[in-house]
Amino acid sequence: MESAASVTDDDGAKIVIKGVKKRFGPKVVLDGLDLTVPRGQSLVVIGGSGTGKSVTIKCVLGILKPDAGQILVDGQDTAKLRGRARDAYLRKFGMLFQGAALFDSMPVWENVAFGLIQGRGVGRKKARDIAYEKLTKVGLGADVGGLYPSELSGGMQKRVGLARAIAADPEIIFFDEPTTGLDPIMSDVINNLIVDTVRGTGTTTLSITHDLVSARKIADRIAMLYKGKIIWEGPTAEIDHSGNPYVGQFIHGRAEGPIKMEVRG
């Protein structure tokens, strides 16, 4: 059930995160996070290491339960989803994990086809064809399909994770550091792939990256997370004159500035 207010408020928004809080023991990670991902757009979240970027995505997927706040996807409150409704909800998403998180008990092609076969009831043969097609898209040849994840380099694992995330052509895709660990050329291939996946298909994406070259290329909008809150959010073109000292320090990669790294000696 959608309240009339949320329809008008969140019109054009695919994902709305309102006042989400999350702590682990005494450590507060998210402290009233507000973020909106517009439908069919690519939002990139930047922010220092350990600021809770991955935690944010896991809250949206329900892998972690927020302590407070609300997450709406297509106007639907995700906290109330159970059973089949939750299964249907999760079928909207594709996710690339920061550490790839490939199933090491099955070959690469089955990893990519997994969501199709198990989650969506696609036949094995058809799923296999789709898997190989997606592997080609991420620059991996047919010979890789039969290998096991442990036989791949880190960058290759990342690309398999990417193929798995896009395999079912989901409505929403989360990319957690898609280009980390890739060489500059492969990074660009992946950036192009993400851009192609989004543009013209109506897919909504939320990506996390430290790589500003990548962010500028794939983002329609950029948001910066700091101390559990979004401290700046705007169109990609505006990132260079945000007027926000935190953003300025981050994009220029300066050790001096308002953001103090907690380096313990």
Binding site: K58, L61, G62, I63, D87, L90, R91, F93, G94, M95, F97, G99, A101, L102, F103, D104, F114, G115, Q118, G119, R120, R164
Partner: protein, 259 residues
């Protein structure tokens, strides 16, 4: 004061643990009946849990049966009652030692393997990845293992029973001077359905505990390699203790019911 704080804290932790385990168990058991059920995974797990446990269960059962015959002989011979050796060995194996020895061996092998595998999947986010691929981890990982253990354990115990009795037979005929045909005849005459069934019922319960403890500890492992190691140890220890406690309770119940 420190003492009371510590006691209070560990009591709360224990209660929390019991609560989490209950929720996990309820989740696993209710997932049992609702489709989809991954039958091919049940098959794979039956091979791993049941078939590959045969050698270790068979060997331990054989020597347990053999040593049981030797010890019972010492006791019965004092009263000139050696003729009861086959019967006591039979009942001891069927009702207690078959299921308990098989249970403990499988707990060591299988609870550990399940906890290590699921624990690694947990810390490498593979379990989270299952969720994002619209597959429920409990259904995909826990239910097949539970089902396989529930079916495999009675089969393993049936084998352990037969081999355990054989061990007793070998010890009695080789070391104690029993005549083979007499030993076998006594065994066959005293073979009783209730003795067999009570052991098999225990086996089902032990199978459940083994798979549950392996899965629960694996699912809740934290941290890296060390966390997985701790989960593995906890799985084996908790499964073994629960098996021995459950065995005592079941034996009591069977006695009360005259079963």
């Amino acid at each position: 004061m420190k003492f009371f704080t510590a006691v209070g804290r560990s009591t709360l932790e224990l209660l929390g643990e019991v609560g989490r385990l209950s929720i996990f168990t309820a989740d696993a058991v209710t997932s049992f009946i609702r489709p989809p059920i991954y039958w091919s995974l049940v098959g794979t797990q039956m091979m791993r849990i049941g078939f590959f446990s045969l050698p270790v269960v068979g060997l331990t059962a054989f020597f347990t049966g053999a040593v049981l015959a030797l010890q019972i002989y010492i006791g019965t011979a004092r009263y000139g009652a050696e003729q009861f050796v086959p019967t006591v060995v039979l009942i001891g194996i069927l009702r207690e030692l078959g299921p308990v020895i098989a249970g403990l061996m499988v707990a060591g092998r299988v609870s550990a393997a399940i906890a290590a595998e699921l624990g690694t999947m947990r810390v490498t986010e593979q379990i989270d990845a299952l969720t994002t691929l619209a597959t429920r981890p409990v259904k995909y990982l826990v239910v097949p293992r539970l089902m396989a253990a529930l079916v495999s354990m009675p089969l393993l115990v049936a084998v352990a029973d037969a081999i355990g009795v054989l061990g007793g037979y070998v010890a009695a005929t080789k070391s104690l001077g029993f005549t083979g045909s007499i030993y076998l005849n006594t065994t066959m005459n005293d073979l009783n359905g209730n003795d067999v069934m009570s052991g098999l019922i225990k086996a089902v319960v032990f199978g459940f505990l083994i798979a549950l403890m392996g899965s629960y500890n694996g699912f809740n492992s934290k941290g890296g390699a060390q966390g997985v190691g701790a989960a593995t140890t906890n799985a084996v220890v908790s499964a073994s203790i629960l098996i021995l406690v459950a065995n005592y309770i079941l034996t009591n119940i069977f006695n009360i019911l005259n079963f």
